[in-house]
Amino acid sequence: MQQLETTSTFDYQSEHYKDAYSRINAIVIEGEQEAYDNYRKLAESLPDSKDDLLRLAKMESRHMKGFQACGKNLSVTPDMAFAAKFFSQLHENFQRAWGEGKIVTCLLIQSLIIETFAISAYNIYIPVADDFARKITEGVVKDEYSHLNFGEEWLKANFESAKAELQEANRQNLPIIWAMLNQVADDARVLGMEKDALVEDFMITYGEALANIGFSSRDVMRLSAQGLAAI
């Protein structure tokens, strides 16, 4: 049998690596910025959880600075225009839902989908990251689990009233994530992150969150695979 490669070596200073990194790094920075804005908006809508949400927002802002430092460390200028476009559809959907007072949809987009997307990307990135970025990312991923937990707990407590809206929001937003993943699959591969590993990690963490909220395993299988067949 073939051997499994458990360690990889990358030329982090090669133009090829840095070019791909300029987009991936930008996505991560933009993602943390979006999260900061989204949690501050949610704090306005959920006065009971205001302090918690503002605390989460603050953490996201700190993460963003950490990832900016990762780019600087490799002398990479993040392509922020690409990243803004990359998040535009999810961003619009969040804004619209917030405008309509659909808190369940907002939580699904930010606390479940975006947090899970971040957790899976960071988990897959850590073993192939440069030393500087690895330390930063390891610290961040621990925080992101607590952010996912916030959404899970809120939705679990409101499961019966939120169920139908969650299913609809999942149907609208999860296919966007698969399309986003596809868009950066080539860049991610340059950084040593395989698309099938990213999808699998996402489905595991997202599926666990849906199960914690109260969905049956059958629902979890259906919901977490929604739209995946099309990619």
Binding site: M1, Q2, Q3, L4, E5, T6, I119, N123, Y145, E194, K195, D196, A197, V199, E200, D201, M203, I204, T205, G207, E208, S217, R218, M221, R222, S224, A225, Q226, L228, A229
Partner: protein, 350 residues
């Protein structure tokens, strides 16, 4: 609670099963999709011992498919096993058997180096390969089926194909110590390992498969037969007993000749019905009662509350441990399958 980590025999099989279980999202997908699919708990199992004790378990489908190895998707294959283990542990399962290729992949790719899986630190003592029970059952099948066919062990030549593997070496150890077989033929690819085994056993002849088959009264297969090996049926002894310990079990199609008897190896029958649906999916002849001995090992460890990785690593199976699991197996109502030339364990539509 006990757990079983299993997988299906091929992509076609997986698609059929997904459709049958009512998961159309999974049913029409190709290998790429399965490489990304997460582990799932797909069955809840209730087992009653011959002593009356009842236990409950879970079946974890890892979504691994043998095609992943063939297509060199090694990282995907290893992720499936590690993720299924993390899934079992997260669900509070005390002891889980690594069925089918799972334990082989774990061993071959040294997955014990990967203990941190996302936010889970794998506790390897919660897992067992089930190989001790499988080896014990295969040995019992050799003795009992030889008796049925009138093969006298003291006159018999026994060939073990895959002799240096975890199960193969245990079978050799047991046959040498506990029977008076005339000759033991050792078939394996790695000559160095064969020499070490010979030294340990104090007997045995290293031999190529083609040379061994015409000499053997009994052949124990724990490695799959290499493709392209041609066997002249006339050259085989009559009667000849073949114990098919591979997965999937398809040797009876290969050796469908008068006087050649193929027995599905490493399969047990329970004396009471087991409440589950998963054995229907792998097409056991009697799905309520027949199962892989490695799975039964997890059940035995649960019955006995021996929460430990009873079978672990390579070539660690001792005669004492085989005796221990054997006693437990009999006490709780399991017995080795002895239906010679039963239908093969392969995927079919249902």
């Amino acid at each position: 609670m006990f757990g079983l980590i299993g997988h299906l025999t091929s992509l076609d099989h997986a698609q059929l099963v997904a459709r049958d279980l009512g998961f159309p999202e999974y049913a029409d997908q190709g290998l790429d999709f399965w490489c990304s699919a997460p582990p799932q708990i797909v069955d809840t199992i209730k087992v009653t011992s011959a002593t009356g004790q009842q236990i409950e378990g879970r079946y974890v489908e890892s979504c691994f498919l043998p095609e992943m190895l063939a297509a060199k998707r090694i990282k995907a294959a290893t992720r499936k096993i590690i993720n299924a283990m993390a899934h079992a542990q997260k669900h509070g399962i005390d002891i889980t058997a690594l069925g089918g290729f799972s334990s082989i992949i774990f061993e071959n790719f040294n997955l014990n180096q990967i203990q941190q899986v996302r936010n889970v630190t794998l506790e390897f003592e919660r897992f067992t390969t089930g190989n001790t029970h499988t080896a014990y059952i295969i040995c019992q099948q050799v003795v009992a089926a030889a008796g049925q066919l009138g093969i006298n062990l003291s006159d018999a030549t026994v060939a073990v194909c895959g002799a240096t593997g975890d199960i193969g070496s245990a079978v050799c150890r047991w046959l040498t110590a506990r029977t008076d077989i005339k000759e033991l033929l050792l078939i394996a690819r790695n000559q160095e390992r064969i020499e070490i085994l010979k030294e340990e056993l104090g007997c045995g002849v290293a031999i190529a498969l083609e040379e061994a088959l015409p000499k053997a009264d009994i052949v124990v297969w724990v490695a799959s037969m290499a493709k392209g090996v041609e066997v002249d049926p006339k050259s085989l002894k009559r009667p000849c007993l073949m114990i098919d310990g591979g997965y999937p079990k398809n040797l009876d199609q290969r050796f469908n000749y008068e006087g050649v008897h193929v027995l599905k190896g490493g399969i047990v029958e329970h004396s009471l019905d087991i409440d589950w649906r998963i054995m229907q999916i792998v097409n056991m002849d009697v799905p309520g009662r027949q199962l892989f001995a490695c799975f039964a090992e997890a059940m035995l460890l649960e019955f006995e509350k021996w929460y430990t990785n009873f079978s672990w690593g390579r070539n660690q199976i001792t005669l004492e441990k085989m005796d221990m699991i054997g006693q437990s197996s009999r006490r709780h109502g399991f017995r080795p399958l002895l239906d010679l030339n039963a239908a093969p364990l392969v995927a079919k539509s249902f």
